[in-house]
Symmetry: D3
Subunit: 283 residues, 6 copies
């Protein structure tokens, strides 16, 4: 019998009916303001996941024991932002309606908007936990509203004040930090305050959106807009594990890996490992 | 007295009133289907032009003697294709209304559509000479009509049959080659037939659009969609010189350099040199 | 319904029963004497095939119309050369016994030995057409007999004099060229003599083994042992098409792409395009 | 009206009369002993500054509010070290005589000598605060006295003992460390002692020279001589901010970025961010 | 008199009779499961050692004062794992029989097995101190027993329980961690417990094997299998210095640098610096 | 017995007395106007020569049979151009006084001046055959006379009109081409006219200086100033072989490889192969 040529993220090869978590890739990067290429992230993450183990010594768990399906990438209408957001929303709605957890691999951060539209329809009381170097709270970017630089602002328009919890933010223009003072729960510079927020959100539905550039550029150089003085991998792993193992995660995304700036492969390795830890942590 | 920090392409530093050719950059790449990054081309071309001379021993002419202004880049609304095309069209209309020749540096090939809209308003009888590896004649690409893969099809809609002269084409789907049979003047694979076309178009207004991936990938690796078996630099230089020195060029663009795939810098050097030769050839 | 995450080479997604050509990857590179990494070639070729079209304007044929299955990669016992050669032989024997044509993507050139063992069992009168920069005729390399530098010598031991037809060879030690004078049909430096050989081998079973480093390093830098002064892509395409469309190809392999030295991607693009042309040419 | 093609560091586009800080580039690297290329730093810093914000959440200040002119690069006599040092000295003297603060972007570290000659003429009691991985205190390097490996020794010859305060030094030959014991105020390995020095130098004129290789190579790989076990970006930012906001900075330079070894761009991003913080900190 | 073209690691150019430590390279990487290329490490380490000093300010010692010979590389039978291990064993036995300390530069980690066979013949009571990201305790890897993923398991077979002390381990499959519980002295995740082990092993013969991927990938990207969340350079330097200056080191190896993934050179610089510190620490 | 750690170019390991050709490296690049790094060429050429054979099928000769010593690199006073030129001149004079042929590996092209000073002292009637993309005939470059852009002008000052034969030149400013009309024997653009010159110079002493950027950048990207539309490797090999096998070569240099821009290694491979062919051709 011949091998099947099915490449999935590590052992995430369960069938759809069995799976409780459904991964999919959304390789969109058309609004990237600086260095594009996040479109290649889902493919790179699958290929390079071969370099890490399915077992986590941190959690003493293994992906073989999890019910996860890597369902491949959406074939996106590159160049038409509106259509792309609809495609993502449709995919997420399908998964949510089957009472499964969508785990989206971007792509630039704007992809979050598509999935969050689906999530907040099903869970109107959802909170967002947002790890990022950038505030992403601009009203518009060079006149464009559906830009990766505005994505949390667009999400805020859907749910309003007090529902977005931002960590690790260390870059933005002054207006974004002012906006955050009134409208979001921003904890700039680090992830140290995550535990308090986790306690407060116990039991509530939570969307976890992870912009990997929250990591220090030394750990994660392969991204569109590297911002010095980020968090270490250990800090991210611990905070992400705490969020995902203690809260009711209803959807999750991991974005902004840009593999063509990752010449040494360490950024992709970091993406693979944090995705593994997130999956293992989600109950 | 202090230096001015004005970086221009080689010696293209005349003022607007004096200049007969106005260069500008249009660093757009949002519809790129494969590898993005053409947005960085105008900046790279300016920086790296330092490595070549202003004098051409081929034409025995020098850029110091030409009236050219490098007017910088348009700050584009990245992420909103419709708006970007309008911005480009506006810039080109301004230059054309002053009876100057716009020379646009892309960006991906879709930028041509913005400028061609301006050109065919002023010159309804304009012909296009198109050097490219790809036919760019699709009706749509994944449902998107304003895509770099469709740009000549969109131009054809503006001027109709017999006005687009394509050279060097060696890639496309079958439908594009069939479309070309009826609607464009396609000379696949090489640039050998350019002389005949130049004779036929004598005196007519001509828009010259140069997709640099017409070059062989060995000569021009730094592009979004490298297609093996292209033309040599000498073939391109001779054909472009013939077109520009013998015809009434009313507008011109050079596109699809993607500098982040040009690790050795040879693609950018090739772009700089062909732009120099084009400027020197335009009378 | 969800997308399937099946990545294949272009449209080579027929099922096994239907398919007449069965592709598979053999990502082995343990005997590489200089720069390893050919193990990554099958995966890179699948991923990057997205950048080329399924249609060939050279042959006016399209992969959609061919019965080809990309059956994925053999999971090889990296580090145990003997076992790896057996794994490859077994795979090839399975395909041959179903009267299909195996098309193997290496990997380093030694993989040919595994498949050729299977082929010459079924076709004892098989001839080899071998395109390469290197003669690969050493008796041993640093004492190792099963080395990529010896692979054609090992094949010769299976079939004897006059059955190996070598083209493009421009590197070897003196003993290899002397060996070739007596034992193989070597046409050094170029592919110009292919037509004569094609005529002579009409009707006979032919194994076509293509070491991509026959190409000039400017066209194909991403390989373990780049050897200057190779053939152009056009020369390779024409010769390979002539071989595959006129002869009775019973098996074929394409090897020695080393993607991690292919920073610009042009080598992988060349590999994809020549594989497309080979498939389209095989009747 | 057309855009002007003036590229400056972020918003440092005030005119000369208004500006209080005058930036200029000195892209010299001819004495580099290991990996050259610092010549490209000023250009890279300008281009890549687009990726960071003008606003600092650390200092709650913005570059728009600062009076800074980026006056471009000196066109240096590459290959003639003596002449280059004079060119730099002349530029610095002009700025200092207008009672403005020169901020020089190297180039290799030897450029400091040119500017320091100008500075210690105007401020004979000036102190140097020197952040670096290397002591730069050799009497000569392979017989050459005006070498980047000797630059602080040359500065010491101008001002004598007790005026050079060195931090972060973790590399040198034994003689340099012995020299430092008697002649400079060296604090090896880290930046922890900066606060004490800042207190002692209150009110005195200070030249701040920052060799960016004081950073750990993981944070700043793009430099001529990467030296493991450096300081983190946070440590550098805090120390540099303390120096520049509390002391009377009369001149400053930032050097030793070598962009062609910065494939991922993170070193250039770090350079841009620390320059922003330095400008914002200088009162 | 002409220069000799002898390239050695820094000043390790003593003759064999004088030398107490004998360096040699073993550039083998055929069993590497993910990214090969460690074969190039010895050469890269020699070439790039030019960028660091011979003097250590940490230990206040200099290589000029040490009796070390860099004896060059073994010319290995690439492709024949069994033969390669014998070649390494023979080289080590020669050095050990002259009562000198062999210091081997890999290559992948399997090279340790060759040298350890020699070492445990001479020192049957030898202990291993093992710094690594990976446990390397698999029974086999894809059916291959002599794989870099199994090397410590093979060493365990030679000496039995309680003799292997593992530090920094953060990756493996579940069976390896279970095996370690019963058979090795594993201290996962960091190097913090080294001091205790150093105390316990006082006076005993110790083989120190350093897989450089114990370092964080940000510090050491150039390796076959980068594993996020490793130790810092300072942590490694302190632990390695403690091991080598306090224990009876009878043999040592440093492995798994893969220079072709080290585009910026920082991994090679880290390798050079830690080798310098190890040599200086060995009494 | 232990291996010696002597790395030489291929088999060029004869002792000085025996050798008829003495290779040495001169890794100088301080006057490079664009991209430095030629200093790394001698080392790279030695390391990478491992990838080519000692036997040439073009000439049917082998390096084992030639009396050549690779004598290593001069340790140059980087940063002091005058001293460097003297060091090179001294080395060449020593070799010439022993009636051997010096073969210098640059470095940038200015190194030729040092060696040519020695050569024209011994051979006042020497001619220069110069292959290059650039004329190198400027009177000065930014005020610097000893610049790589002026090196043939400086040589001309030593020997006067009619003694410099230039081939392949395709770049320069207008004044250089005018200078060449009166003072040198320039054959621009290609190497086609070499045969005529070879006939004219029969029996005369000839210095052959090969700037490798005469090659097309596709073949030789790794150089400081890549200039499109160069010659192919075959053209260079044939012309260089004709020059070296038919003329009385008294000294030779090969320069302007800049390995850090040669990511794929093909430029270094080309340099190695042409050096092999030159050595084999020199009688």
């Amino acid at each position: 019998m011949l091998n099947k040529n099915i490449e999935t993220f590590l052992d995430c090869d369960k069938d759809y009916e069995t799976a409780e978590i459904i991964m999919f890739g959304a390789g969109f990067d058309s609004t990237t303001s600086f260095r594009p290429g996040a479109r290649f992230a889902p493919n790179a993450i699958r290929s390079e996941s071969y370099g890490i183990e399915t077992y986590s010594p941190y959690q003493n768990k293994s992906l073989e024991d999890k019910k996860v399906m890597d369902s491949g990438d959406i074939e996106l209408c590159i160049g038409d932002t509106t259509a792309v957001l609809e495609q993502i929303q449709n995919r997420a709605e399908g998964i949510l309606s089957d009472n499964k957890i969508p785990l989206m691999i971007g792509g630039e951060h704007l992809v979050t908007l598509g999935m969050f539209r689906a999530v907040c329809k099903k869970y109107p009381d959802v909170h967002i936990i947002h790890f990022d170097a950038h505030a992403d709270l601009r009203e518009d970017y060079l006149g464009v509203k559906n830009s990766h630089a505005c994505v949390l602002r667009r999400c805020w328009e859907l749910v309003g004040d007090g529902r977005i919890h931002q960590f690790g933010i260390r870059s933005g223009d002054k207006s974004e930090f002012l906006f955050a003072e009134s409208h979001t729960d921003m904890h700039p510079f680090g992830l140290g305050d995550v535990s308090d927020t986790v306690k407060k959100l116990a039991g509530k539905p939570v969307y976890f959106t992870l912009d990997l550039d929250v990591l220090d550029p030394s750990v994660f150089p392969g991204t569109g807009t590297p911002e010095p003085e980020g968090v270490s991998f250990a800090e991210l792993r611990k905070a992400a594990t705490e969020v995902c193992s203690n809260l009711n995660i209803v959807a999750c995304d991991v974005n902004e890996l840009s593999p063509h700036y990752d010449h040494s492969g360490i950024s992709t390795a970091a993406a693979c490992k944090i995705i593994r830890e997130i999956i293992l942590a989600i109950d």
